[in-house]
Amino acid sequence: MKCRKCGESAVLELRRHNAAFCAPDFLDFFRNQVREAIRKYRMLEKDEHVLVAVSGGKDSLALWDVLIDEGYTTTGLYLDLGIFDYSIESRAKCETFAAARGVPLIVRSVAEEVGAPVPVIKDVTRRPPCSGCGLSKRYLMNRVALDHGIGVVATGHNLDDEAATLFGSITHWHTDALARQSPALPSTHAKLARRVKPLYRLSERETAAYAFVRKIDYIVEECPFAKGATSIAHKETLSRMEDASPGAKHNFLFGFLEKGRAAFERAEAVELRECVRCGQVTTGTVCAFCKLADQVKRAK
């Protein structure tokens, strides 16, 4: 197979684009997709300080790598979830990456902030581990951004993540989630940082290939709690659709963003206020994070 641009031997075929690329031209393609994402949704100003949420996995480290290369001022944020060896190893990957590139990394521990690590939160709440984990991450990303005066948080969500989330929301007709799903969420309150997903145009195979070609040392092993997660089941379903019809995932997600989302957004306006306990933004009186921390404290 030959590279579409230069005719040299290709290293990666992208069926949904009906193309194959050599390593240097693939990196160009990848960076162009990130630039297009940032431009289309006006995600970042050129001189803006960006908080990059990193897990040690391929997506977030690839994102950090691209944003540094593109000239953004970045600070990494690693949230230690307390998930045994997985957390120890993934933290080390982030620290090595930050040290090699000379960029700052902030580390926060869920065990310290919530009162218990993710495995204990799972037992206390009797809900899937990803539930308390996701809630804690979203809360802490926003709070750390505010504490450091950073207006925008970038996460490594890719096309497959976004398509799987969309699939899950549609399966249950979670219209509030459909209203919120976007590659770029604006700040709707003085205490809310903007959230952007500059990799939403790239599949997880493309982010893995980018990380490999760029020799980024990322954690290949998956979070032990991801096994059996419904998001994985959704991804598997979508992958079979993609195999039968290349571009299916892309069309599913992009069609929603371009044609579907606005209708849900109009129908789902919510009033935001500040949590009476911690002062962070919530739709209720006490925010979900404080309720979670209470639940953990009561169980001790």
Binding site: E13, P129, E204, A208, E222, I232, D243
Partner: protein, 53 residues
């Protein structure tokens, strides 16, 4: 698995969708039309990551 075949045939025998893995030989990625020989070692690295609330 036996070599002397294209990557895509190896993946089919293992029932792996090509979109779900990187195929690595040595320190390079290879495409599904490449032939792997019996003496080759290839790594099939899953690309799916998960977990979401």
């Amino acid at each position: 698995v036996a070599g002397g075949r294209r990557v895509k045939d190896v993946l089919r025998e293992l029932d792996i969708l090509p979109e779900t893995v990187l195929v690595i030989r040595g320190d390079e990625l290879i495409t599904a039309d490449q032939v792997v020989r019996d003496a080759d070692t290839i790594e099939l690295r899953p690309v799916m990551s998960g977990g979401a609330s």
